[in-house]
């Protein structure tokens, strides 16, 4: 079960149990909902902006350990970043999980590198990316809930 230890490593289990920025921002400049109809995972992302910088971010929702920890670490990572920087993180995160030729490592990804192991669990990739899709929808001010299924 060594690979399971990589998937469910301490950092992920900790953020699942004690998610950071797990709160509603009121007022919020931007808000979006993400939903995975296959498993019922739900996430809501709230943003406060200052110019093009993410001044504050919060999330709510219910889901598996991977989706909750991913949302929590996402908020930690992008708080204080510009919209452009957060888009780069989105693309890198996506590439780390889905692009076999990606060699993004700890240096570029920081704590998000904890999710590199999800690549080996194709059925769980959407759990890890749901909150990122919701973040992007919030930035783009998409009004209807976005889903992982088309």
């Amino acid at each position: 079960m060594s690979d399971l230890r990589e998937l469910y490593q301490q950092l992920i289990l900790d953020h699942n149990k004690n998610p950071r920025n797990f709160r509603v921002l009121d007022p919020a400049d931007r808000f979006a909902e993400g939903y995975n109809p296959l498993c019922g995972d739900k996430v809501e992302v709230y943003l406060q902006l200052h110019g093009d910088r993410i001044k504050d971010i919060g999330f709510q929702g219910s889901g598996c350990a991977i989706s909750k920890a991913s949302a929590s670490l996402m908020t930690e990572t992008i708080k204080g970043k510009t919209l452009g920087e957060s888009e780069t993180f989105f693309k890198d995160f996506q590439a780390m999980l889905t692009d076999p030729s990606s060699n993004l490592g700890l240096d570029q990804m920081g704590k998000l590198f904890a999710f590199a192991g999800v690549r080996d669990y194709p059925t769980r990739i959407k759990c890890a990316t749901l909150s990122w899709h919701a973040l992007r929808a919030a930035i783009e001010n998409v009004q209807t809930p976005i889903t992982t299924e088309r």
Partner: protein, 426 residues
Amino acid sequence: MSSPLDILTLQPPEPAAHPAPPFDVRRVRADFPILGQQVQGQPLVYLDNGATAQKPRAVIDALSHYYTDQNANVHRGVHHLSQIATDAYEAARRKVATFINAASDREIIFVRGTTEGINLIAQTFGREQIGEGDEIIISEMEHHSNIVPWWMLCREKGAKLRVIPMNDRGELCMDTYQTLFSSRTKLVSIIHISNVLGTVNPVREMVQIAHAHGVPVHIDGAQAVPHQRVDMRDLGCAFYTFSGHKMFAPTGIGVLYGSETYLDAMPPYQGGGSMIQNVDFDNITYGNLPNKFEAGTPNIAGSIGLGAAIDYLNSIDFNGAAKYEANLLEYAHDVLRGVPDLKLLGTAECKVGVLSFILADIHPHDVGTILDQAGVAVRAGHHCAQPVMKHYDIPAATRASLSFYNTREDIDALVSGLHSVRKIFG
């Protein structure tokens, strides 16, 4: 025309002449090639039978035999192979009719599965018989396939769904059921065995109550047929639907049973080849049963595979298998109760081998992934029954669903996997 030999091979077996030997799980397991597989380096423990069942060698061979030796279109050729294929297709229909004790093979309509069967009823019987202000009774424990087609029909017609509630053990409230009937009730559509809770509903009694109000009944038998014998003449329902793939046959084939009186009166479902008697541009006459409901080239191989699955079930002492399964369920209940923080959903008095549960506050997807690493296949999610999830106020559950080829070792592997889950999540 077929040779005498071919006709011989198409004769349905006579169960009475060859009584099946007593049920023996070791021998039965050897009939299912996939069960010998390893997953993640461990022997496969397949506990997702509610989603789809594995196929015995006899079914796989029947498909291969059909495509190797018999393939042709049915009901339309005069040539040798076409006759063979037609005979095999119609023999499969007779096997289904006998298996469920229908009054006639005209009452057996081949469809894609339970879902298509229910949509067929909604689009034909439903659209013709159900109008504004009318009511359809379903229950709180339905699969989405027995909710959505009726909901869509109600939307279209301005009709209403009335829902039989269930208690926390997962049993329908029969007292409330009686009170849901009104002069506007046009149909009762209920699940025979719950895919989440395993509850066996008292469908015979429910049909009698509906008949006392002059209301016909459809029964969703998707989870019943793999576990027990069903008898159409005993049940007396107007419609009964099930899927081949959950009863050891291929995907893409299923059955709508309809009593002849109802099927005769209903308009066709889809239009096309095979379902007509005569076509000119001014007038079209429809074919007789069952052709009226089977437009286009059917799933010939699938129905032959379904026939082979029925032959297989007749050959293994199906009643003995059901007893074995009941015993295994009791064992599973006992050992699962020993897992700390595990809550079983569905503890009905009368149930079959479906074990849905939640483990502490650990999400079912995490449970499923960790079990998978131990070679244990279960289902995690809402099981296409969101109202049931809502009843227990949970977003999802983990489900282990049994078949007669499962063993106590399978259950032990599940339990040991659950202990690993608890260890990882501390």
